[in-house]
């Protein structure tokens, strides 16, 4: 399922957070939204999820215009930077949450919920942790649970807000590879926000570079690295010294 962002403009009072943003995430693509802090990348992701509403423009999932739908109708899988796990629920119940809150007619029967959650626990390699509380897990483990919880509702798109931002370097690398492998097997359309260009270039099929609420460049990691579209992109990439001189 593709994501289309059309002419999105969003302001907070006088501050223009997003200024006429357009781009498309193709079905089955893994795209990184890269930019410095305050560039509007998280706001854009939240607009796509329905956690924030834009003044102008449309958001489409495939042919479905979801602009006027609230987050709970859109059902985009969303992974938060700080996990946002339900503290009072076990890992099992955290993952099952999205299935349990469905209307009776759409709710899978208990054995099916069980099977689905157990399968997801296998996928994230935390099968033995089902009964634990989030506070008893490490950061990396918590983020994996947050992944599983978002995947449990079988979303058509997956949105990730700085998913590795709160983790230490080693775990971050591991999870990065894990995400890429996961995407290669599922081809779930995914958009992830990051300020770390290494992360963006290593994981994503394409990179969208954003600054001051406007898109600066869209392209594959190679394209962006080889021919930066403007001085901002050049400087932004140069700053971290990843481009060979």
């Amino acid at each position: 399922m593709s994501i289309h962002i059309r002419n999105i403009t969003k302001t907070f009072g006088k501050f223009v957070a997003l200024n006429d943003v357009n781009f498309t995430v193709g079905g089955g693509e893994l795209v990184a939204l890269l930019g410095p802090s305050g560039s509007g990348k998280t706001t854009l992701l939240r607009v796509i999820a329905g956690l924030e509403f834009a003044e102008e423009g449309n958001v489409l999932f495939g042919d479905r215009d979801v602009t006027r739908q609230s987050a709970y109708q859109r059902r985009a899988g969303f992974v938060f930077q700080h996990y946002a796990l339900f503290q009072h629920l076990s890992i099992f119940e955290n993952i099952a949450f999205g299935l349990r809150v469905r209307q009776r007619s759409q709710r899978p029967p208990e054995p099916q919920i069980r099977a689905r959650v157990e399968q997801l626990l296998e996928t994230i390699q935390l099968a033995d942790f089902a009964k634990r509380l989030p506070s008893q897990l490490s950061g990396g483990q918590r983020q994996r649970v947050a992944f599983a919880r978002a995947l449990a509702i079988e979303p058509e798109v997956l949105l990730l807000d700085e998913p590795f931002g709160a983790l230490d370097a080693k775990v971050r690398k591991e999870l990065r590879h894990w995400l890429r492998r996961f995407h290669d097997t599922t081809h779930l359309t995914s958009l992830f926000v990051t300020h770390d260009q290494d992360e963006a270039f290593e994981v994503a099929d394409r990179v969208v570079i954003i600054d001051q609420g406007a898109i600066q460049q869209i392209g594959t990691p190679d394209e962006v690295r080889e021919s930066p579209a403007n001085s901002f992109v050049e400087e932004f990439l140069d700053l971290d010294g990843t481009i060979p001189a």
Partner: protein, 311 residues
């Protein structure tokens, strides 16, 4: 117990600091504190129970068979049963509004929530007399003249159904609601502020509707803060003297609550009976203290959990 204004847990567990004071200073400080506690808290509490049982257990129990005493207990329970749920709802709304939204007058609202804590409870009662009393704003409706009765159907309805506010249970409940309304909101605001609303957002993206988010995510998150507020609210509702005294009229078997009844018994030299009723309120205070301490501890645990996961 009336007027016992408690402090609220507004802090998030501060790290312990090594103190620079000498052991002598420490002993002196702790010693003074203990003596102070002994004189002002433990001793009076002891006297209450000692006096209550001074004429034996039989007299103690007989006190509660007395019709006026039984009625006072009943009225106090009814008052608390109405005032506490009302303020639970108000407190939840208020805490929700000031922690979730940023609007003009927000800080003024937060200050206003505290108002009953700083004004004298007598004023809390007096405002209702000034509204519903014979000389008050609505006096013409509640104490109607013959002309008013024939011309105004509201006054007629109130008169026909014998509805009273001042010198009746509704007035007592109103005054109690006024003096107790900060407690739930103040118990919740620091907790909800610290927790943020990421979990609610997560629930929303998972397809939960507003009610499901409230019952399955928000309520469990704030449970102990809510219980903490409720228990303080209840203690104050049952123990309030000043505000209730103004609107009550002290009519035995009609508008006497436990604190008012204690005063009457005491003034009539029924010391054992007065202290017997007082001892029941004191037990309530002790139970409140125990539940409060536990709830506080649990609420802090929830706060820490929120802090740990970087919310």
């Amino acid at each position: 117990m009336a007027g016992a204004v408690s402090t609220f847990p507004t802090k998030v567990a501060a790290p312990r600091r090594a103190t620079a004071e000498s052991p002598l200073v420490k002993t002196l400080l702790v010693g003074t504190l203990l003596v102070f506690f002994g004189i002002f808290l433990v001793l009076p509490l002891f006297v209450v129970f000692q006096q209550a049982f001074s004429k034996g257990v039989e007299v103690f129990l007989k006190t509660f068979e007395d019709r006026a005493t039984a009625h006072a207990v009943k009225l106090t329970l009814i008052t608390a049963a109405v005032a506490v749920p009302l303020n639970a709802i108000f407190g939840l709304f208020a805490a929700w509004a000031v922690t979730r939204f940023n609007f003009r007058g927000r800080s003024l609202l937060i200050s206003l929530i505290d108002l009953p804590l700083w004004v004298s409870p007598v004023i809390g009662g007096l405002i209702y007399v000034l509204i519903f009393g014979r000389q008050g704003w609505l006096g013409p409706v509640f104490f109607p003249s013959p002309e008013m009765l024939s011309s105004n159907f509201i006054a007629r309805f109130i008169y026909d159904n014998n509805i009273k506010v001042i010198f009746a249970a509704p007035g007592i409940i109103l005054a109690t609601v006024f003096v107790t309304f900060p407690f739930v909101a103040r118990g919740l605001i620091p907790l909800m502020q610290a927790q943020g609303h990421k979990e609610e957002e997560a629930a929303m993206t998972l397809g939960a509707n507003g009610w499901q988010i409230f019952t399955r995510v928000t309520v469990p998150k704030i449970k102990w803060g809510l219980i903490y507020g409720l228990i303080l609210c209840n203690a104050r509702a049952m123990g309030e003297f000043g505000a209730v005294s103004v609107v009550s009229g002290h009519i035995r078997n009609k508008t006497n609550t436990m604190p008012l009844h204690i005063e009457i018994l005491y003034n009539e030299y029924q010391f054992a009976a007065a202290f017997a009723v007082a001892s029941v309120l004191s037990i309530l205070a002790l139970v409140t203290l125990i539940i409060k301490t536990y709830a506080e501890w649990q609420a802090e645990r929830q706060l820490r959990a929120a802090a740990e996961t970087g919310e």
